[in-house]
Amino acid sequence: MYKQTYLCEIVEKKQLAPEIIDMTIKSKELAADALPGQFLNIRCGDGCSTILRRPISICDVDPAADTLRFIFQVKGSGTQFLEAKQCGDTLDIMGPLGSPFHLLEKVDGDVILLGGGIGVFPLFLLAKSIYEKGVKPTAYLGFRSADLVVMEAEFKQYTKDVKVSTDDGSYGMHGYATAYLINHIKNKKVGLVYACGPEPMLRQVQSICHENKVRCQLSLEQRMGCGIGACLVCACKIKKQEGFAYQHVCKDGPVFWSEDVVFGGE
């Protein structure tokens, strides 16, 4: 059986916050295969004037209902195109793509989910999956400001604890979610950290985990072409004996073990 692209109907669409859209689509095939940390590559235009698909993480999946959910922030032409779509419209989707978060059979210590901004969304399906394995993770979620805080209650269902921070202090703790991580590590044994968010946050998480010898998986972002590993544009640096080698976010990632990731120069 060959892989294919799927024309999926939008069955639900909600605005969660300014420029944050929550969409649910119907697809038996995608729903059957989706794993936490994987992403969809969505055609956002006619494929000719806007050529590139947009990678969007899978936020939740309901295999019983054959539905998949993703949440996105409206930024440029592609996400504007998505925003304009309504229930009943269809989207042309490739997926599920990428290698998922690794769920360990046994973790010695607490499991922490650390999300920043749009990096919060893929952690939701992860929280559910860990919860279903009988472990309750702790979620630390960072947002820019109070009006952008989303999914707090939803995360509560599948976690021991959810704490929210905002950059401007308008909700929860004032500062970055990484402060929670530092604090947690100080007070309790942390077995595994999963992090997704902007690069500066991931760099910080990497060094915190490194210093404290805590294992950690990072979900990276990079501009993509094909989304399946053929064009080699979505390069990221991965440690090698001496120096680094380029691997590719779309296929080798987006999830990597923190100790393997080399962050770029600038």
Partner: protein, 309 residues
């Protein structure tokens, strides 16, 4: 009306492709990934990612930027090297009933010759010599932009090449016909055109170029008019077959290139928006032939009816 007996076969430098659809180098890897989306033996040929003598890491990311009806890329020839290709990648492609084109890029004449030699001893069907990558320079001038250098390099590499040699031309030149003729005189068995146009995009908010390499190669529908014009000009300047490319997204686009003078066409950027682009384009080409009851696809090659002045 379908004419089931129609022939899609095209001859590129003595090698018969079962149909004119080729993958454009660098957009299709070594076939593995797209091979999960369709049977690779549907293709006329697979042209693999550009190879260099030794492995190359490529440029830092971001390596891609979107532009109006186009994309800029600056992959910078990331590849495992020609020997690893022959050993680890080629066998996989050979399982499929399609032709294999090895795309090679060197830093020096010697490198090109050495690579041609290595490939000559492999089961590769054709060699495509890329003398148009902005990263490949000698004495400050890219090989592909000077007619005399093009003649020399073609002439030399040809000596080492057991397979037919395709020369891939750069569009970033004043007179493409001069370069094409130099390649032909040098012994090229076919020509590929066009490679990407050099372009740039700047993020006005960060003030930085989007590509970490600052500039990159423009491909996609945006460049199609330039590519069609160059294919048409070159087709009237040389006798060897042409593989036309640049923004082919549909069967109509492929036909347009063939009317302009291309014997085969390569599909690059289109794969990114539609992983099944190659087979879709093939089917659309067949429909066109059916509609106009054309039984041999070679009958449309170069058949543009230009306006006389």
């Amino acid at each position: 009306m379908e004419n089931t007996n129609k022939s899609l076969k095209v001859n590129i430098g003595g090698v018969m492709l079962k149909n004119p659809i080729v993958t454009a180098s660098g957009t299709f890897g070594f076939g593995k990934e797209y091979g999960e989306y369709f049977e690779l033996s549907r293709l006329g040929a697979i042209c693999v990612k550009g190879l260099t003598l030794t492995p190359r890491p490529g440029n830092p990311p971001p390596r891609i930027a979107e532009t109006a009806s186009g994309i800029l890329n600056s992959v910078g020839l990331q590849n495992p090297g020609v020997e690893a290709f022959v050993k680890h990648e080629l066998p996989h492609i050979l399982k499929h009933d399609t032709k294999v084109i090895a795309n090679i890029a060197g830093n020096t004449l010697e490198e090109y010759c050495h690579m041609a030699q290595i490939i000559s001893d492999s089961a590769t069907d054709l060699v495509e010599m890329n003398i148009s990558c902005p990263n490949v320079k000698q004495g400050g001038v890219a090989f592909g932009t000077d007619a005399e250098m093009v003649y020399n390099i073609t002439h030399e590499v040809k000596k080492y090449c057991k397979q037919p040699l395709i020369v891939k031309l750069s569009p970033n030149v004043t007179d493409i016909t001069q370069i094409a003729k130099a390649a032909e005189s040098g012994g090229a068995d076919a020509l590929s055109l066009i490679n990407t146009l050099l372009g740039m995009r700047i993020d006005i908010h960060t003030k930085k170029p989007i590509l970490a390499n600052n500039v990159g190669g423009l491909s996609g529908p945006a460049i199609k008019p330039v590519a069609v014009r160059m294919v048409w000009q070159v087709a009237s300047a040389v006798k060897i077959p042409i593989i036309g490319m640049g923004g082919i997204m549909t069967g109509s686009d492929a036909i347009e290139f063939m009317l302009a003078g291309a014997s085969a066409v390569a599909v690059g950027t289109a794969n990114f928006s539609d992983p099944l682009a190659c087979v879709r384009i093939l089917e659309e080409v067949e429909s066109y032939l059916d509609k106009y009851e054309i039984t041999d696809i070679n009958d449309i090659v170069g058949k543009v009816a230009v306006h006389r002045k």
